[in-house]
Amino acid sequence: MSLFNVCSWWSVQCGDIAGEYDVASLLCARFGLEAQEKDYIVVGSQSGQLSIYYPHANGFDATDLLLETQLAAPIIGLHAGKFSGNVRNENVNQLGVLLPNAIVIYNVQALSGLAEYGAQLKLQLQAEHKFQRVAFSMCQGHFGQVKGREFFCVVHLDGTLTFYEQDGISYECRFPGQRCLPAPVVYCQRTDSFFRLNATWHLQCYTYQDLSHSLVTKSSYQPIWSQGIGEGILDMRVVQLKESCSYIMILGERNFICLDDNGKFNFILKLDYAPKCFFSFVVGYYFEPGARLITAIVSDAGKLHIYEEANIIWAAQWQESAPVAIQRSNVQNIAGSIVTLTATGQLNVGYLGAQPYQFQVNPLNVEELSFAQAHKQLQQLEDEIKESVDIRDMDALNQQAVDQVRLSFSIQQEIFDDLDTLLLDVPADVAVKELPSAKGQLKIKVKAELAELQLVIQTPNGVRCSQETLSLMNVAPGNTRDISLDFYMGELLHVHSTRVEVFASFVSPRGIPRVIQQSAYLPLSMFYRSCSPQKAAGIKLTYSITSKHVPPKLATFFAEFLEGESEAHALGLQLLCPGLDKLTEVITVVAAKNSNRLRIQSDYVETFAMVLERIVETTLRLDGDAGLLKMDKKKPKRGVLNRCVERIMAAPFMPTQPILHRVDVHHETQENIRQQTEQLEALWQQFKTLQRELQEQSESEPKEALTMQIEANYDHLILEGDKLVEIRRDEQRQRSDLNCAISLAKWIIQALNLEERVVNVVSSVLSVPVEDWTELSWEESMAPGIDMLHHFGPLMRSKSTSTHGLLDGNSGRDSFDYGRFRRHFVTLFDRIVRLASSSTDEQKTKQTQMANADQPQVVQDEIGNMQRMLGDSSVARAGKPHLSSSLEAVEDEEEYDEEDLRDMGYRKDYGPAAATADTKDTQQQQQQQSQRQGKRSEWVNEEFELPTTEELFSDLGIWW
């Protein structure tokens, strides 16, 4: 493949439809028709069509064809020369056409027209010489150094030469001896001799003198020299390079041979391609120094090789098929053009391209696979995969995720009442209340390139956010976004939490997903307003702040309502939402004057959740800020106590009945919905039936009755539908109430003095917010969890881990037994409370002992007020255990104290005997402690193992 091309300048398909063309079919010559004449291109086909072209410009034009005519015989040679003596203009050439049995000499005549297409060329027959033998080729020249005109010599198939001289004079030369093969014969003007290849592959030189005289003298035709060539030849030319020397250029089948006119080899060039045709010429003039011999050889692969003497100086490739004939010509506007003709008659005028030709079919998929490279690539891919799926170091991954997307989410603790309710599309019933709203700020800073980033802001039921989602695609690193958020009440529901969570889930460009989460708390003032505290209430809870870093003052927890230095010990909070007319839901928080206890009391379960959340979370946060104890997320070990207790501890009491009441109401609503849906279904069926009847009834029958029926039925349907809508609305309310109730339970349990594992398991079962599905109500979905807690796990009564009980439970699972669920629920709470209270007492005893021992030292060391308080209370407690719930801040101290503890937890039904034991003697308590120890082990299954997921699911009949 050569780098360079032969470019096409002008090209045409010759007119002969069936024709074939060969090396003799092409001639470039001038005929002396006009003054500034350039070369005409004459093409003669083997089927006898003769065409004369005169290219004008880049690209073929219809007028470039001057003449086309069909001759009777195939054309085997084309020659132009001064074949006629009686022509005045010395530039005029005649066209000699060699046919197999004649040579025809034409005068070319031109008649110009008004326009180019009006010009016409005429061939005027001047002479025709018929042959006795079939012609093979012809050579022409100034034989005998004749001036002004040219003679020609026809080579016949049998090797005979016929010379035509003057007008009509001819003679024949038949070489004696061995038989001749047809081979081209050339004439050398310098030595006035002919060169001919004989049958023995010898090049022989005969002088014109000898040949012309041999006819007269009958002498045998003796060559003046003979040189062995050794192969057949394709073509031969004579060029005169110097005054003193001509060269015979021979294109052999394998070699390119050059001899001088004395028969001496100039060079032999071995060709490593199959040559097709060639053209040799001299650049410059032979009579001037510096003339160069140039040869162009065409290979059968369509490549042009240009040699200076025997040295290759250029090579170029034809993009089209390989030519069979080549000429160098000066056509109009392009000097030194390469005129070529292909075997199918494609005539082309071209030039050498100087732009390297690089347009090739790119090898597809031929690249060898290098092992090292492939291995590297594989490694890279593996690393990438590993990076995305390796979860061994979760902390590092999470840290990385947090680094990639920096989230900062905060909620201002001030409330606002300038909310644009119209813009935010707040329902009218909510807008009327003019509830306060809160403002938040979310800042996102993206540090790494991300393909996708999605933010979801999750608010508790009833609270809405002005922007809940945000999706970004193709995030560039360094991208920051600052979003202001408004939080406001969207529905008049009991809110169970003030916690707002922001989830940012993002996918890196490699497709690795990560999720990070942040949360903030809404100000309580958004939900409560302060009011005068209530003295008595139905539900009373007590928390002891055991952390040394948290001052047990109300101002610590309720900064929205109290001044920082406020010494108030009681705070009444009234729920703003739903804010029903007749109902004022008030919760009272009382801080003990001399102890570290908080009492929270209210008649309404719904009021607790947010307040408890605030108390517990604040305590944990403040304690965490102090940085003493880390709540690291190690898997809790067996027997480790709830670490929360070290900071805050709840009195072991659970308002089971009110919570159960909420569950009952919720369940009832669910049942109502179910019934209502069934009723609607029935009515709908009826409606359809009636309509069908109406359609089936023939025209003649009266329709009044049926129409009335349909109308009545329709009205009923609408009525029941409205009812369902009402119940659904109700359900939503019940659900949020239940949310509050369950949250309450959770907050209590979280701060109970229990084994940490127990807390975790129970908390995970009691999930908030509660969800109802069309197929499954919350109760039904909770049942297996509660069941599990009941039968398995740390709360199980029996020590055996057999699934016996569970299987029992499973047997009736198809029909959900609400009674059973309720029973389990109650038992669960009961057990938790008992367990907690037993361990609390136990701890208290220990603490008392320790406090007693440490007391003098404590006083000596003058430890802060907090510790003294602790010490005081422990002393008090040692003497009077019931004081754990005493509240000095409240006036009627004794009443509160005694009564409450007795009321606590509805002990008359389930309360553990140990908790009520009124022991004042330490010794006695220690004895009882051992008793309790036994009891505790009765309650707690120490060796419990949680069933594996598979076991659990197969037991529950759930197919994974």
């Binding site: 096409s8 007119g15 005519t69 008004l114 016409q120 089209e320 160098r328």
Partner: protein, 381 residues
């Protein structure tokens, strides 16, 4: 207003009728394969063909019409190619190993087309995966029709001074019928005028001089743009405007008396209209018939030769690392298009060193710089 609309619609229809199909290489023309030119026929369909250069991986269909080759993807509706036969410079079939995974060579059709001085190379590969198809000449119809197209230019192209008349008789093309012959027609292309004859056929209008048979005009109706009778200095004359593809010539003819002229004018007008509705592009091809012929020929050939040069792979381990730095630069520059500012407009000049016409060598380079990179023995590879 109305007139304007009419003109526009006329222009529209004119635009539609303009025959570009055989003269252009087009890519991704919408609805290409269901929008054929009037008179264009699909002569053969080759299925399971991939355009390995442009759309590798897409199976498509190769449609062989009488004007062009159409390839369209079956996977992506938008992808198609239209290669007019007039633009095809070279066509060959090869065996390629494109899909290296199964190591099965498949037949491929290689086409070099030159359109607007730009070279396009196409490689259509058989992706059917059938081993039987490998030895069948599945692309035979393409080259056959292309061959036919090349041989039937008289149906479509204006030809001046062609060898179309023999012994005073027009050589008729297949399917051509002569409707009328009119003698005594003066061609007004030269001062003195040339007396000749008209031959009106269903495909073309032919005039030839009585005195010189090689002076003639063969004008297919396809290249006839406009036909009218106009007053000239020689009296009323038939003026024929050839289309742009037919050289844009204005041909004038005089016929006496005027009645004969009018009669001929009407005849030509109606024939022109008829031709526009039912053009004949001259390509008659029956793929079925051709296949039978090919099958017979293949059988014969199979018996004749068992030895094929294609079956042998030449091993040449020579590797020349010696590369001229200046040429490297040249190649890079060339491929970046820095040198080829306007390659098409550069007229070739005579190169003394080589003795041939040559494209001007870019500034700063000498012929030797381009040439001397390769050791002499490499040239003839």
């Amino acid at each position: 207003m109305f007139k304007n609309l009419e003109i526009i619609s006329k222009m529209d229809s004119l635009h539609q009728e303009l025959l570009w199909e055989d003269r252009e290489v087009k890519f991704d023309t919408p609805h290409l394969h269901n929008r054929l030119h009037i008179g264009e026929k699909i002569l053969d369909t080759v299925c399971h063909i991939e355009d390995s250069k442009g759309n590798p991986g897409d199976t498509g269909k190769l449609l062989v019409t009488n004007l062009r080759i159409i390839w369209h993807s079956l996977v992506h509706k938008k992808f198609n190619l239209s290669i007019g036969y007039a633009r095809i410079a070279n066509m060959s079939t090869r065996m390629v190993h494109l899909h290296t995974k199964n190591r099965i060579p498949s037949q491929a059709l290689y086409i070099l087309a030159i359109s607007n001085e730009t070279r396009f190379e196409f490689l259509f590969t058989d992706v059917s995966g059938e081993t039987a198809r490998r030895d069948q000449p599945i692309f035979a119809s393409v080259s056959d029709v292309h061959h036919l197209y090349q041989r039937t230019f008289l149906y479509r192209d204006l030809k001046l001074r062609g060898a179309i008349v023999q012994a005073g008789q027009l050589i008729l093309l297949p399917d051509e019928r002569v409707f009328s012959e009119v003698q005594g027609v003066w061609n007004l292309s030269s001062d003195q005028g040339n007396l000749g004859s008209f031959v009106v056929t269903n495909i073309r209008l032919v005039w030839f001089a009585d005195a010189n048979e090689t002076f003639n005009i063969s004008l297919p109706y396809l290249q006839l743009d406009n036909l009218r009778i106009r007053e000239s200095k020689y009296g009323p004359a038939l003026v024929i405007q050839t289309a742009e593809t037919g050289g844009n010539y204005m041909l004038g003819f005089r016929i006496d008396p005027v009645e004969r002229l009018n009669e001929l004018f009407k005849e030509l007008c109606s024939l022109h209209t008829i031709y526009k509705d039912q053009p004949n592009f001259g390509i008659q091809y029956d793929p079925q018939d051709a296949r039978q012929r090919l099958a017979a020929a293949a059988e014969e050939a199979a018996q004749a030769t068992q030895f094929k040069i294609d079956n042998y792979q030449e091993l040449d381990e020579r590797q020349e690392r010696e590369i001229n730095t200046k040429l490297n630069k040249y190649l890079a520059a060339g491929s970046l298009g820095i040198l080829s500012t306007d390659q098409t407009t550069v007229e070739p000049i005579y190169c003394k060193e080589l003795g041939f016409a040559m494209e001007p060598i870019p500034n700063g380079y000498k012929l030797q710089d381009l040439w001397n990179v390769l050791p002499t023995k490499m040239i003839d590879e």
